[in-house]
């Protein structure tokens, strides 16, 4: 075992057994993780990017000792997640965005104090850290407020603080900025960066649905879909993959409701990826082409179908484009109904 990695997974798999609605024994199997292999270095801010149901939360649950893998192995700071549970829990914390949980009758301070106790902190240290951290997220003046009286965003800030109270060496952040307003989200991102800068042996594993956030924060990130790791690199390197390709944004007159319009364009040779979105008075096409010259065939195809060009823009590749090329759809396209609901 390489103890040098903060996180290491080898061929990690997780299958959920789901019962039919009537308990008739017709158990279905759902593959949430499928041979995921990852290595995260100490000091890294590592991101997991993937559509709903990709298996991000499942991976975090396994790494944080809440769930056992069905195959493969996973190590946190060299410790086996299935065996060294207590040692791992002493070093990690987990914060999930959009959590509505908590003992509503406790105040923010009491709740955080309680968790500090579970991590074995003495009162003086706990108090100091609670005040410092609440101050950082700007809710120090609310520390005597009962949790039940907090808005979702404030509750989330409190949960975020909980994740740092024990001075962990690894923090799992599952969509930490979900539902936060722009300022609060920025504060959270800044805090995370600062926290890692102050101690380079700490590690953060983060999932997010915001491309810009992943791009800004992450040293490296893995793009996951359907339980598989499709790519794993720095945001720059991921974008560089598309350097040879040409990325265009096209606005054309409405293509109307042809169900196969994207397939039609994709069948043009040289078109690697296309996403189509219908706007009020036009249709927007996002194209990833093998080379610029392919654009000609696309345009002639569109004019043949009687659609006029409104605007054309060549763009620098973004993470979003990388994502689309690898996953085959946009991150914000809701595909959760095909993979089943998420309760993570």
């Amino acid at each position: 075992m390489q103890p040098d990695y903060a996180i290491e997974t080898k061929d990690l798999g997780r299958i959920y057994k789901i019962r039919g609605p009537k308990h008739k024994g017709d158990a279905k199997e759902l593959i949430a993780l499928n041979g995921a292999t990852l290595q995260v270095e100490r000091g890294e801010l590592f991101g997991l990017l993937g559509p709903n149901g990709a298996g991000k939360t499942t991976l975090i649950k396994i790494l944080s000792t809440l769930l056992l893998p069905t195959s493969g192995s996973a190590f946190v700071e060299g410790m086996d997640v299935t065996r060294d549970v207590q040692e791992i829990r002493r070093r990690i914390t987990v914060v999930s965005g959009g959590e509505t949980s908590g003992y509503g009758l406790l105040t923010i301070e009491e709740n955080l104090w309680m968790f500090a106790r579970f991590y074995g902190l003495d009162s003086a240290t706990a108090r100091r850290r609670i005040d410092d951290l609440l101050n950082v997220v700007g809710i120090l003046d609310r520390k005597r407020t009962k949790i039940s009286d907090l808005s979702t965003g404030l509750r989330q800030k409190m949960n975020f603080v909980r994740g740092f109270i024990s001075d962990p060496s690894m923090v799992f952040l599952d969509e930490p900025t979900l539902g936060l307003d722009v300022t609060a989200a920025r504060e959270v991102r800044n805090f995370v960066k600062e926290w890692l800068r102050n101690n380079t042996s700490r590690t953060i594993l983060l999932t997010t649905h915001y491309m810009a956030e992943a791009d800004e924060l992450c040293d490296r990130l893995a793009i996951v879909d359907r339980g598989r790791v499709l790519a794993c690199d720095t945001p720059e390197n991921l974008k560089r993959r598309l350097q040879r390709e040409a990325v265009f944004n096209l606005k054309v007159g409405r293509l109307g409701h042809k169900p196969d319009k994207s397939a039609m364009i994709e069948s043009i040779s040289g078109v690697q990826q296309v996403t189509v979105s219908e706007q009020n008075d036009h249709t927007e096409l996002n194209l990833i082409l093998a080379e610029e010259s392919v654009l000609g065939s696309v345009l002639s195809h569109l004019t043949q179908r009687g659609s006029n060009l409104i605007s054309l823009e060549k763009r620098e590749p973004t993470l979003e484009d990388v994502f689309i090329q690898l996953v085959g759809r946009r991150l914000d396209e809701d595909t959760s109904h095909t993979t089943g609901g998420d309760n993570g």
């Binding site: 829990r89 987990v94 999930s96 959590e99 949980s101 968790f115 579970f118 991590y119 074995g120 009162s123």
Partner: protein, 296 residues
């Protein structure tokens, strides 16, 4: 919170994860249990309800026996039911915590990524309900002494016997709650209703309302496996002293003998519940039901 803080900062508590988990959970349980917006409602819940249910029993007894509340069997029944308040409070106090944390507060996941000791946490969470039960118990007995002249005096109580047997009784009840809670954890279904069934079975087979001798001989041994049987017998002996009615089934055993049996059963239950709890945790992780919600 400040007194709690001082307790938590003592070296012993700082060193022991189990003790820390237990005390912190007890503090949390108390916050939840005492969180009654209205003290009047709290009084109704913890006093009027148990006293009321005993009065119903007393009425039935008086109708059937023409008001023979001075018969020794009356004290037997009255105390059996008063003590039984604790059975329900402790068992459900512990076994409900899993459901509460998983589905009501949704904190189970958060709690189980901390290094706290889950077994002692559950025990701790039951403390508040147990205290409420103890208060109800004392009030109910006091009421019995005043209203029905139960033959109990403070000086006449065998305190060491009462305290020893009640401590063991509470420990064994808490372990039963823990076993039920553990099964709830791994099944992710409303297994707690089985808790009610167990409570009911205990009521019939542990001599709470009638001596085991009334049961058919084949059913009598059922009572012998329940710790509650021994605790009720010992507590009644301790409270009533010589006026305790003797029934053949348990009369042959001395206080020490019964206490030993209760201690052995409690010890076995502690070990067994620890084993079951760890199995349940493992299965819950295997099945991924840590944050599962049972459909209501």
């Amino acid at each position: 919170m400040s007194m709690m803080q001082r307790v938590m900062d003592t070296p012993l508590v700082r060193r022991s994860n189990a003790l820390r988990s237990f005390l912190t959970a007890a503090w949390l349980g108390w916050q939840i249990e005492s969180n009654w917006a209205d003290p009047f409602l709290f009084a109704v819940y913890s006093i009027a309800r148990p006293v009321g249910s005993i009065l119903i029993l007393v009425m039935m007894y008086t109708v059937i026996t023409n008001g023979a509340t001075q018969e020794p069997i009356f004290a037997y029944i009255y105390l059996g039911n008063a003590l039984y308040i604790l059975v329900g409070q402790v068992i459900s106090g512990v076994s409900w915590v899993i459901i509460d944390d998983r589905e009501h507060y949704r904190t189970l996941r958060q709690l189980h990524t901390t290094p706290m000791n889950g077994y002692f946490y559950l025990m701790g969470r039951g403390v508040a309900r147990m205290l409420v039960g103890l208060v109800s118990l004392v009030i109910t007995i006091g009421f019995g002494v005043i209203a029905f002249r139960l033959p109990i005096t403070l000086a006449g109580i065998n305190w060491p016997l009462f305290i020893a047997s009640t401590v063991l009784g509470i420990i064994s009840l808490a372990t039963i709650g823990l076993i039920i809670g553990s099964i709830t954890l791994m099944l992710a279904r409303h297994f707690w209703s089985v808790g009610d069934a167990i409570s009911g079975a205990l009521y019939l087979f542990s001599g709470a309302i009638f001596p085991l001798d009334i049961l058919p001989a084949v059913l009598r041994p059922v009572g012998f496996i329940f710790p509650v049987t021994y605790w009720l017998e010992l507590a009644r002996r301790a409270l009533l002293g010589p006026s305790h009615p003797t029934f053949p089934t348990l009369a042959a055993y001395s206080n020490e003998h019964l206490l030993l049996i209760l201690a052995v059963i409690s010890a076995v239950l502690v070990g067994f519940s620890g084993y079951i709890y760890n199995r349940a945790l493992h299965l819950a992780k295997e099945r991924g039901v840590f944050d599962m919600e049972t459909s209501h």
